[in-house]
Symmetry: C2
């Protein structure tokens, strides 16, 4: 059985992997739900290993330790049919995933523009400027890019049904709506296809069941954080 | 023949792809070297397409348009044997590449912590703080991670000879040495294996020939930038 290692207390980047496992009905041990999760994850990072992860999430699978979110999804996608099988489709889904990873980094940067080592309160002045720029320029640019793809391709990012990148786009939208509810209300008007995809993912039976379960952790102080002063229309 | 689309004037993220093409002796058209490159690249980004790149670099190959640096390298690695052929090795090289991409984003963030839309001069105060944190915490953490891998595995990140991730690590080190020469002189003392890998890549016949050619562009105002005030021991 797969073992997913990620920090407890918020969905974060681990959620991109969790959604793929849940949507694919793939059994897994979720270390974040266990007692002492933080220590278990930290211990795993420090263990001697020929493929050490730099940071969580990491997945223990088939005698491998696989790090980097997009890399874990590439593996799961190929193995469990969560992405197209042909080379072009597989690369395209990976490309979408990496672009979702890019905006996720930028979303984190809005509350920690100076660095992760200092608290938000120590970089709030810089965060106000970074968030203003992210809201005005970056959210619309990224979400318009996804809107353009869906206008060209149809309901899903690749093929005729969902892939792991669609699940990740759902999580991105949820995270942005949590962090920037006022801004996202405005942007949603210009990106109806992205919002429809978000709803379609939420309605997948496996995902709907997962979201209603206690395995789903609420957003709090992970990658996506809600500081009202960083939001705006 | 492959066509590599990237901004002209600096190596940037395009260089990760360029080094793989050069080391693999793979012929390619380098749009950055052509007149009107900026317009050609921008036009390509705007063209209707079922797999639009969000940003350069992108590669036109086998009737595909492939975006995202790590994704392009995944494709080239599989097709031209620039990475191990087995699944575990292929995933590991991708994992290394994505970690190199992460520190590259953080390096860019040191001179543009507020956002790419504003000039460096408009965010210099924030950049001074961000660079201090990056130099103190992030450079050592990332490079020590690579040092630990090489201590465990030998001369290269994967297998018994170079992969595209080794070429990218070379470019990362070159970029960091350009941007933060004083800091890197200090860090190099603690990461001798990483520095030896850098030298080994520079000595590969194809790479040595490339570096001596006029195809190699000098560092300037790309991802890696040298502002003396952002550097320190």
């Amino acid at each position: 059985m797969y073992e997913l290692y990620y920090w407890p207390g918020f969905p974060g980047r681990g959620e991109f992997v969790r959604l793929a496992l849940e949507a694919g009905s793939i059994p897994y041990r979720d270390v974040a739900c266990e007692e002492g999760a933080r220590e278990i994850v930290a211990r795993g990072l420090a263990e001697p290993c020929s493929t050490p992860p730099y940071a969580p999430p990491y997945l223990v699978a088939d005698h491998m330790i696989i790090g980097q979110t997009a890399n874990i999804l590439l593996y799961l996608g190929e193995k469990h049919g969560l992405a197209p099988k042909d080379s072009a489709g597989r690369l395209w889904v990976n490309q979408c995933q990496l672009t979702i990873a890019d905006i996720t980094v930028e979303a984190h940067n809005t509350h920690h523009p100076i660095g992760s080592i200092a608290y938000y309160e120590e970089q709030q002045a810089e965060a106000l400027r970074a968030a203003t720029s992210f809201r005005a320029n970056r959210i619309p640019k990224y979400l318009t890019w996804f809107e353009r793809i869906l206008a060209h391709r149809g309901d899903w990012l690749a093929g005729h049904s969902w892939s792991y990148a669609d699940l990740s786009l759902f999580h991105l939208i949820e995270g942005l709506r949590f962090a920037f509810p006022r801004r996202m209300a405005t942007v949603a008007r210009d990106t109806p296809k992205v919002m429809a995809l978000r709803d379609a993912v939420a309605s997948l039976p496996q995902i709907a069941a997962y979201l209603a379960s206690d395995r789903r952790q609420p957003f709090s102080n992970g990658v996506f954080r809600h500081y009202p002063e960083l939001d705006g229309e």
